[in-house]
């Protein structure tokens, strides 16, 4: 046999051997999150809790870190009574957050994990002042408010605790249509009840930093009330191109005037005017 045939045969044989090893291993695909439609008409608290369980184990990617010892890189949430634990942390003198009850604590720890870091689980070298956990409402996880509520409902219910989060309203579900809820029930979205809901409904935070002056697509709004009067705020929402903030593109949607109800507009204007 020629040298070429022997060496080529050896090389191909070795390559196929490596390929064979890959077939001996579990064949698992890592699917991207897909849209899931939930019929609000038939949504019960029980199915809402099941949805939270599913988000916790899949889209939320919580179990990457929250696992039982010694594998876990974060507290074992699934194995602990979260309501009892939340109350214990609220009573801790190290706690500096704004939550008043278990539901608020869980929500705060999902969205601002750095507000209270459980002892021993902080970033290396931070002395438990910084959390390695990303905010779940931000990329790459990007849970919607409804999905966060579902996760909280599951965390409260799994150990027999009382579920205090309400079932989602139609308009909130529409906002969350990208991943977990209906959003296309055919009904017009109901008006937001609070300024926070209205801000979430129109996704203001996608382009404006609400808690700082960081420039995203638009300017930060942390002290917008000290820079613009209510009239100017109202104008910048309904007719955003009338005055464009210096150094920013005219990228604000032009259809808020037709989409917002009067009460929503006023709630947002009043809310922003107080940010000084």
């Amino acid at each position: 046999m020629s040298v070429l045939a022997k060496t080529l045969g050896f090389s191909l044989g070795l390559t196929l051997l490596f390929t064979l090893v890959t077939y001996l291993l579990p064949q698992i695909k890592g699917e991207a999150p897909v849209d899931k439609k939930v019929d609000l008409g038939s949504l019960t608290m029980e199915s809402f809790i099941v949805l939270g369980d599913e988000i916790f184990h899949n889209k939320g990617t919580c179990t990457l870190c929250h696992q039982p010892a010694p594998l876990g890189r974060a507290p074992d949430i699934a194995g602990e009574d979260m309501v009892a634990l939340a109350n214990k942390h609220l009573a801790d003198e190290r706690y500096q957050g704004d939550a008043k009850n278990a539901e608020e604590y869980i929500r705060e720890s999902l969205i601002h994990p750095g507000k209270y870091v459980v002892a021993g689980w902080g970033k290396k070298g931070s002395n438990d002042t910084e959390s390695p956990m990303p905010g779940v409402d931000k990329p790459p996880i990007q849970l919607t408010p409804v999905e966060i509520d579902a996760v909280i409902a599951w965390l409260q219910a799994k150990d027999g605790g009382e579920v205090t989060v309400p079932l989602p309203a139609v308009e909130a579900a529409a906002e969350a249509a990208s991943t977990a809820t209906t959003g296309d029930s055919g009904k017009a979205p109901a008006p937001a009840a609070t300024a926070e809901e209205a801000l979430a409904k129109y996704a203001c935070a996608s382009c404006h930093a609400m808690d700082s002056n960081d420039a995203l697509v638009g300017p930060g709004l942390v002290d917008i009330g000290s820079r613009l009067s209510k009239e100017q705020l109202r104008q910048s929402i309904v007719d955003p191109n009338a005055v464009v903030a210096e150094g920013f593109p005219p990228a604000m949607p032009l259809d808020f005037a037709s989409r917002m109800t009067v009460s929503e507009l006023e709630m947002i204007v009043n809310y922003l005017a107080e940010k000084k």
Partner: protein, 634 residues
């Protein structure tokens, strides 16, 4: 004397002729830069026609166009696109598969042609210092066999770019926007690289001796400098997609190009690829030497190719030894950037493929060691170390088996009940990282011991303190092995995860210390050693197959780790700022990845064969046919 002077002048004039185009390029570049500096303005201003004619004394009419500064800012603050599924062209074949094959082939050849000039330059330098022409000839031959690789790299690079623009237009538009004129700098560097490459290669014999040799070495240095700059620039695109920097939460550019490039993973990837390229390049040219060795009948040629194969293996294994440490740094930075991303790679869906990685690295270490042991037959002085080889082989095999032990098995209910749980009570603890860290460090130490024994086999130390030096070396090995096992067992099984990760760094440092101690002690102990004769070419044919196993395993390993690196982004084109909504936005199963990797490995193998064939073709010359000769005479 006069003739020598004439040749020198001739060389200088040739050199001048070769450098002239470069000077022209530089002069044009300087003139262009100078024009920009003296207020000739940008292109838009120069081609602007007369916009308004007005009477003297009248106020200017408001022009609708916005000032250039505002226009520029608008462009810069553009958020990353959010393409829907329909925005991705569908050509009936998986777009990802096309880009995967083209991208991987480009990377294989890119790695090869970046690595070869690097160690060629070092070998050439060794030739200058040792005044041994064999080094110079070998370095020249390495360049010859890789020369066509530059064209193949460019062909696959061009095809990849076209495929990306066709299949992922939104992503490419965004990346073009983010990196801006850096793309032009990247393209411009190819001119420099090509210039230095061709002058370096074709000027080899014209610039071989005396001061001209230093000019040649300088050209080699510039070739490597332009090649490495190209590599780190291309790396910045990959690391930007993994860990974007210089952009805000929605992907709008808020930093300058340097801030965009120097993301948290850029330097770890730069170092990792730099070292891996050298190991990969060494392994590929080693296969060439092995093939030539097996084909040659002439003992002189066999001796030459044996030496060439040994040098290639030496380069590959030496570069390979620190590679896991560069890998540690990269993974540590990935964890620091995003714990979620780190766990996706090491403990999530992708964790299984580290079993395949273990098989591949095990193959590389076993093949490298086997080649060294076989090579000991070149000298009679190796007899004294034969007993130790069996111990090293045992350590390698046991560690290899620990490394490939999976942690979690896919079991049926009856199997679980037979096993008494989802983890075997003995094999379970061997499946987690502490056991694997012990295994991989011991394998690296064993490989270094093989290398050290090989280097010692043709020497006998003459210094008076040789027994003391040997005792010290043995103590270092024993201390290191005990320390690595203690760190792994105590911190791996009896403390929490944070200490487990920290202890792996101490293990790596221990391994590095063994290597440093070994090199220093041997350098001092064998300084004026008695050298025993080496018989190049006296090596069994089967040892050459280890030199084929190395590039196959390296190629497979590179493609496998590329699959991991790209997959940790999950369903994002650019992590956290631009989602991948294409039909291929999922992480494929390991079996599918295995098929793709085998496909690119076989394609690479065929292209490399073509490259070697063309390299040999240049040395062949057809004899003039007898009949034609006769006819001519008639």
């Amino acid at each position: 004397m006069k003739q020598t002077e004439f040749i020198r002048r001739l060389d200088v004039s040739r050199l001048t002729a070769m450098l002239f185009p470069l000077l022209v390029l530089l002069v044009f570049g300087l003139v262009d830069a100078a024009q920009a500096d003296v207020g000739m303005g940008n292109a838009q201003e120069r081609i602007t026609p007369i916009g308004e004619v007005r009477l003297q004394g009248q106020p200017p009419v408001e022009i609708a166009a916005k000032p250039a500064a505002i226009q520029e800012q608008e462009v810069e603050l553009r958020a990353a696109p959010r393409p829907s599924r329909a925005d991705y062209p569908d050509i009936g074949v998986s777009s990802r598969a096309i880009v995967w094959v083209l991208g991987q082939m480009h990377l294989f050849f890119g790695a090869l042609v970046l690595a070869v000039p690097l160690f060629v330059l070092l070998i050439e330098l060794v030739g200058v210092y040792t005044r041994d022409d064999r080094y110079d000839d070998m370095a020249h031959e390495f360049m010859k066999i890789s020369l066509i690789g530059f064209s193949i790299t460019a062909i696959f690079g061009g095809s990849l770019a076209l495929a990306l623009f066709l299949l992922y237009p939104d992503l490419m538009a965004y990346l073009m926007h983010v990196f801006g004129s850096q793309w032009l700098v990247y393209a411009g560097l190819f001119f420099f690289e090509s210039f230095f490459l061709y002058v370096y290669y074709y000027g080899w014999n014209a610039l071989r001796y005396g001061n001209l040799k230093w000019v040649h070495l300088t050209l080699g240095l510039l070739l490597n400098a332009s090649g490495l700059t190209i590599m780190v620039m291309a790396n910045s695109w990959a690391t930007f997609m993994m860990a974007p920097s210089g952009v805000n939460e929605v992907g709008a550019v808020v930093g300058n190009i340097w801030e965009v490039m120097k993301g948290p993973l850029w330097n770890p990837i730069n170092l990792h690829r730099f070292i891996a390229n050298i190991a990969f390049g060494g392994a590929v040219v080693g296969a060439y030497a092995a093939f030539k060795f097996l084909s040659a009948k002439d003992p002189v040629k066999r001796a030459h190719y044996d030496w060439m194969g040994y040098t290639s293996n030496f380069i590959a294994i030496l570069a390979f030894l620190p590679l896991p440490f560069a890998g540690y740094w990269l993974m540590a930075e990935i964890y620091a950037y995003s714990q979620q991303m780190g766990i996706t790679a090491m403990g999530g869906i992708l964790a299984w493929l580290f079993i395949v990685q273990a098989v591949l690295i095990g193959t590389i270490l076993l093949a490298g060691n086997f080649y060294l042991w076989s090579g000991m037959s070149r000298t009679d002085g190796s007899e004294r170390y034969k007993g130790l080889i069996k111990v090293i082989a045992l350590v390698l095999v046991v560690c290899f088996l620990i490394w490939v032990t999976p942690h979690t098995l896919i079991l049926s209910a009856s199997e679980i009940s037979l096993l008494g749980g989802s983890h075997h009570h003995i094999l379970g603890p061997l499946g987690i990282m502490p056991a694997k860290n012990i295994a991989v460090n011991l394998m690296l130490i064993a490989t270094f011991l093989s290398f050290q024994l090989y280097r010692r086999s043709d020497k006998v130390a003459t210094v008076s303190w040789a027994p003391m030096g040997n005792a010290l070396m043995i103590a270092v090995y024993i201390g290191a092995v005990v320390n690595i096992i203690f760190l792994g067992v105590y911190y791996g099984y009896f403390t929490n995860t944070v200490y487990k990760v920290g202890s792996s760094v101490a293990q790596v440092v221990t391994t590095l210390l063994v290597i440093v101690f070994g090199l220093v002690i041997d350098a001092l102990m064998f300084k004026k050693a008695k050298v025993l004769p080496s018989h190049w070419g006296r090596i069994p044919d089967r040892a050459q197959y280890a030199l084929f196993a190395l590039p196959i395993a390296f190629t497979w390993l590179m493609a496998l780790m590329g699959y991991v690196r790209s997959s940790v982004k999950t369903h994002w084109h650019v992590y956290t700022v631009m989602k991948d909504n294409s039909p291929d936005n999922f992480i494929p199963a390991i079996g599918y990845a295995g098929n793709m990797i085998t496909l690119v490995t076989v394609l690479f193998l065929l292209c490399v064969l073509f490259m070697f064939w063309v390299a040999n073709l240049s040395g062949s010359k057809q004899r003039k046919p007898e009949t034609a000769l006769a006819g001519g005479e008639a």
